[in-house]
């Protein structure tokens, strides 16, 4: 059977590499499968650029980007990790050079984004700006969609926020694209697949019974619902309670830690102080 190949370019902006590390934690498929195998029968990814793991360096790898832009127009998936610094025309973040000129993250994302089949913003920084865009946003960081709107790029953006994102939110989205095509993705109004971001943490929380009974932790380390010690699970849309993290070993609330609301566009400015109760009224 002929294998359909999907070239993938993974660009890193203003971020911490945590989302890449999270993808390395994927279990089924594993990172080895994503790199080497047909992820679903007849369909295979072809990662042609990822600065953290690729073989080459320097000018030759920048040429890979330039070649893709020119020769693979409309034929590759662009994944962006990290926010995009836009202040002073993006000079706060560069990923290499073209000739003697610095190549800014902003320019690369716009050039490669314009020619991409589809873009995927992995992590909250790429989706909504995240921590680099938190007050006072020193480098004018933006999420991918906001940048595209401002600069008139109309390539579709799928948002997979999370700090970091869960690896299965990525592998699951890739599976939907490979099986059924990008048009099949059912996204919420923030561009997130409803399959993963369609329910509140609160709806599926194992401490929900404590909330309903009014049994609240007063300080960290207590049993009971973590609402009073700052849990943001009541307005955070993610399937962490069902999916759990790190191969199902644990997740934030199960470990006794309040949800930070890390998949929401309000993270971190309006989901903090992290250990203070925030009511629905505060949010409005």
């Amino acid at each position: 059977m002929h294998t359909k190949e999907y070239p993938v370019i993974w660009l890193q902006g203003a971020g911490c590499t945590g989302c890449s590390v999270s993808i390395l934690n994927a279990v089924s498929p594993k990172i080895q499968n994503l790199l080497l195998d047909e992820v679903v029968p007849g369909h295979q990814l072809n990662l042609i650029f990822h600065a953290t793991i690729m073989g080459g360096q320097g000018d030759p790898v920048i040429k890979v980007l330039k070649d893709a832009e020119k020769n693979r127009k409309g034929g590759y998936i662009l994944v962006v990790e990290g926010a995009i610094p836009t202040a002073d025309d993006g000079i706060y973040g560069t990923i290499g050079r073209t000739g003697d000129k610095h190549l800014t993250i902003k320019q690369s994302v716009l050039d490669l984004g314009s020619s991409a089949l589809l873009t995927i913003a992995v992590g909250t920084c790429a989706a909504f700006g995240g921590i680099p865009a938190a007050e006072p946003n020193p480098t004018g960081c933006k999420g991918l969609k906001e940048l595209f709107i401002d600069e008139g790029v109309d390539t579709a953006v799928v948002n997979l926020p999370g700090c970091p994102l869960h690896p299965e939110w990525f592998t699951g989205t890739i599976s939907m694209i490979l099986f059924s095509g990008a048009d099949s993705l059912d996204l919420d109004k923030l561009g997130r697949p409803k399959l993963f971001y369609g329910q509140l943490i609160h709806e599926n929380c194992p401490r929900r019974a404590d909330f309903d009974k009014g049994k609240f932790a007063e300080v960290l380390g207590d049993s009971g619902c973590l609402y009073k010690v700052g849990c943001k699970g009541h307005y955070t849309n993610a399937d962490c309670p069902l999916r759990q993290w790190n191969n199902g070993v644990n997740w934030c609330i199960r470990a006794g830690a309040p949800c930070l609301g890390c998949v929401e566009p309000e993270f971190p400015d309006d989901t903090s102080p992290f250990y203070e109760k925030i009511t629905f009224e505060d949010l409005r």
Partner: protein, 494 residues
Amino acid sequence: MSKKIKIDPITRIEGHLAIEVVIDDGVVKEACSTGTLFRGFELILQGRDPRDANRLTQRICGVCPSSHATASALCIDDAFGLTDKIPDNAKLIRNLILGSNFLQSHILHFYHLAALDYVDAVSAVGDLALFVPRYEGDYRVPDEANAELVKHYLMALDIRRKCQEMLSIFGGKMPHNVGIVPGGVTEKPTEDKITNFLWRLNEIRDFVDNTYIPDVISVAKVYSDYFEIGKGCQRLLAYGAFDSSNGELFKPGVISEKLEHETFAPENITEDVKHSWYADSTSGKNPAQGQTKPEPKKQKAYSFLKSPRYKGKVFELGPLARMVSNYVQGHAKTKELVDSVLGEFDAGVDALYSVLGRHAARALEAKLVADVMVDWLQVLKPGEPAIVESHIPDQAEGIGLTEAPRGALGHWMTIKDKKIDRYQVITPTTWNASPKDDNDQPGPVEQAIIGTKVKDTDNPFEIVRIVRAFDPCLACSVHLLNAKGSELGVFKVV
């Protein structure tokens, strides 16, 4: 004849780094190390709830977030007056979380960041787009051993993942654990978790003992000239880490080029800015008083990194520094491990100051940490407290010193009106990849490159092998230290 080489980006590291060298008659005469991303983390921290620094600073780096979790927790504990009250359970669980992060980071570094400079992945798996283009030529490992190392590259992906899974037993999740908090950790240890952790750890220890360390040795045997390459400044600094009732596993220490040990005191740290994009008037300050006045158009500056120095001298940080610090202070297990590996090569301690010495120190350190984690698990007290209550003081100062996989890490904080007034982070890569200081002394990575013979300037393996041996983490390193009220100026990174 003189030739300039720019390698931008340096890949297979964390973050955005560029290296420029000038080569004269085949030998590097000058080297410049430049961080190319700036986020302004410390500005973002200003005015926030001091406890939130523990969550936010982890996001400085997704490869070593637990180090920032640890440093910030120690810093907050100090500012809140909790340092002496932290329960032993909490100290041990913090150690287990940080230790697991060391293991995942060191294994990732050798197999997935560094190994492709030595191992010919293309000959083993074919022309996978991810592995080409690349430097061509100097791949020396014989076919059969090469194929085995590529297999281990894939196997190590599973093992490093399992380190994260083990970590999340107490840490909740990775990257960015939620277990370490001001005052301790979120959960008491239980017997089932301890046993669960132990058996995951045993699998990882088996890999470190029987795969990782032997692989480093077998690569070193084929590339033994790299015991002579990348010597560096030969002065080493460790803040120390992994405190327990047995004292610290990593001994703090200042080690001279003659292997003399001196007691470490954080007051002796200063940061120079002559070659960084900051006002010269702010140069030479200790981080507790540090100021930053950005000067975008400053002539002859070439980096967003400042130049941290100890008593005005250049120091290297990292596994090499920690292992030598422990070695000269007589730590028995360290001495045994180091001597046994040096014995394989008939080499003295001097050989450690090299590309291969740094890889070997990292692998041995992984074993040291993994083995002692078994002991920490056994002295945990199931069901007993692992946190103390904390209250935000109106005014306070705090300092948190620990070790990250890449070297010593410090957080400094000032609290005013219960909010963060100033937060400052100096990371190991800020030291290691620093530009020249006020006395024009090049930073440790720059010194390690200068004087190196480059055989093929189109494929300068020597330079990238030296740089990657330091395991640079740029996301950690480029930050703005904000003097109160200072505005971020307009930078031009040209």
